[in-house]
Amino acid sequence: MSASIEIAGVSKVYDGGVRAVDAVAMDIRQGEFFSLLGPSGCGKTTTLRMIAGFETPSAGAIRVDGSDITHVPAHKRDMGMVFQNYALFPHRTVAENVAFGLRMRGLDKVTIAAKVKAALAMVELSGMEERRPAQLSGGQQQRVALARAIVIAPRVLLCDEPLGALDKKLRQQMQFELKQLQKRLGLTLVFVTHDQEEALAMSDRIAVMNGGRVEQVGTPTEIYNQPTTRFVADFIGDTNILRGERAGPNLDVGKGLMLALPPSEMQGTGILSIALRPEKIRLSPRGDAPIAAGSSAHGIVENTNFLGGAVLYRVTLEGGHRVLVQQPNAGTSRLFVPGDSATLEWTPADLVVLKD
């Protein structure tokens, strides 16, 4: 049966004072696909390894279904784990790898054989039982690692960048399959990745980590649409971040550009950063019509980046600010080319105010 995990103010300080994880707190719900997302060195893997029991927290507690497991040794935690680069036992066959955890649990041979068969069928590796890991492709190895982790029906499945070594196509396929499997089995899955697209595509909720701390926890939509910190906004997807001083209902970002703040943020004074996603900006050929102050600007297209389904433009505004603008490739209108003059428009409500 899947379990919930509570991480309560957990820190990890290494000898020499390096603070790898700093007072991290989060609740992972039962049956949830939960991602730890962040750049390398942000503490996400250390957090996962503390959940798995390979590291002991310097402070704080980890609870599974309410019971404290902080000091339970790793081999008694009943958590499946898919390692980065899989950590398949090179001296054992596929079947022996998958059977390993079952043998440790003292199951009889018949049961083990049946479960291994079922697990390999589930990851579509039937017939590969007698191969050795070295004889498998990267994707196959990944499936073996997955089968090995889930065959023990763990309370929690931990994945440390499990798809990092796969090529894009395979990676997308595995993302899909892993998600399917997690839903079907109702697994609580903690997934570590540095790939924001992957996290957005798969997770129920994401914890974005930076410098050993959790920056924001939320659903993919929340994380994308309402980043609360400058780091999250910058790390997740492309974005335009502008910093300025409040001037009544507007934000003065300098170089003659004033932005109308969203209705909820009109009060107050002081310095503020906002984020505006490139796809929230509409780009049109520069007309003669005057522009609406605070929600539009003129600029010159500097370069274009054709993405297939969309086109990303880098535009220099009249005052000198450079912004990214993304337009869907609808196929109907002419694409902009460098040097084109254009008008940019946005809705003030799309501006997200960031904590610094």
Binding site: G53, M81, A87, M104
Partner: protein, 286 residues
């Protein structure tokens, strides 16, 4: 060692755009193979001589040989002394291999994983039995046994052999341990294996090539050990090299060649046997 000729033409000076096909490459390859074959000839020539010596009917080494005879093999196999020495050498070598392998592999594990202070110093110390002329080690051990009043027991000989073979096991095992992916042990732990089971099911099988390579060295070095044995063998229990050396003082005939050929065959049987039973694979590393 390949294409010595082209080394005089640094690649940077060649134009980057057109890659001229290199006629030097097969030449270099030939040179590489020729050099290696010459080296193999060097390694094997004395062994060929030993075989010739063993099969040559005259009681001294003669070149070119004057005929083929198995009389030295007959003499070797008919000699109770040689046979006893051969079996005794095997016994000592097997016991030495076991003790050196167990002690050496444990020591390597402690050195690589035990967070011991002064690891370098310990490793240097463990290599030092190789650096002392073994005859002095043998005499020193003999003197110690006299001091302890234990006589010249077989275990004393095995201990001496273990001392000079242990460094090889430590080296080979350390080499593998340093390239060991510790995540495999974590994976096993994650799957519910206790520390003891992790050791036997994951660590040990994976460091096996190194341990086994060390074991093979221990066996060979012990089987061929002469100077350490010199003082430690007791009357009636002499190892083959000691028996051969003493034989040589009086009868330098083809029997020693025959003994040597038998030793080579026997040692190969043991090495191949180890390969077949525990799986040497292709990794013998020192």
């Amino acid at each position: 060692m390949q294409t010595t000729a082209s080394s005089s033409l640094p690649a940077a000076q060649q134009t980057a755009s057109v890659r001229i096909p290199r006629p030097t490459r097969p030449y270099g390859r030939t040179l590489y193979l020729a050099a290696n074959i010459a080296i193999l000839v060097f390694l094997l020539a004395p062994i060929a001589i030993v075989v010739v010596f063993a099969l040559n009917p005259t009681p001294f080494i003669q070149f070119p040989p004057v005929g083929v005879s198995l009389r030295w093999f007959e003499k070797f196999f008919a000699s109770r002394d040689f046979m006893h020495a051969l079996w005794f050498s095997l016994e000592v070598a097997v016991l030495t291999t076991l003790s050196a392998t167990i002690l050496g592999a444990s020591a390597a594990l402690a050195l690589a994983r035990g967070n011991l202070p002064g690891t370098r110093l310990i490793v240097a110390t463990m290599l030092s039995p190789l650096m002392l002329p073994a005859i002095l080690t043998g005499l020193a051990l003999f003197q110690t046994y006299v001091l302890l009043d234990v006589g010249r027991p077989t275990w004393g000989l095995v201990a001496g052999h273990t001392l000079v073979t242990l460094p090889y096991v430590v080296r080979t095992t350390l080499a593998v341990l340093h390239n060991f992916d510790t995540r495999l042990e974590e994976a096993a732990q994650n799957l519910g294996a206790s520390p003891l089971r992790i050791f036997f099911e994951v660590t040990l099988p994976l460091i096996k090539p190194g341990v086994l390579a060390g074991a093979i060295f221990a066996f060979i070095v012990s089987f061929d050990q002469f100077p350490v044995s010199l003082f430690l063998v007791s009357p009636g229990n002499e190892t083959l090299p000691v028996t051969l050396f003493n034989y040589l003082k009086f009868d330098l005939d083809g029997t020693i060649g025959a003994a040597s050929v038998v030793s080579i065959v026997l040692a190969f049987v043991v090495v191949i046997g180890l390969d077949r039973t525990v799986g040497l694979r292709s990794y013998v590393k020192l």
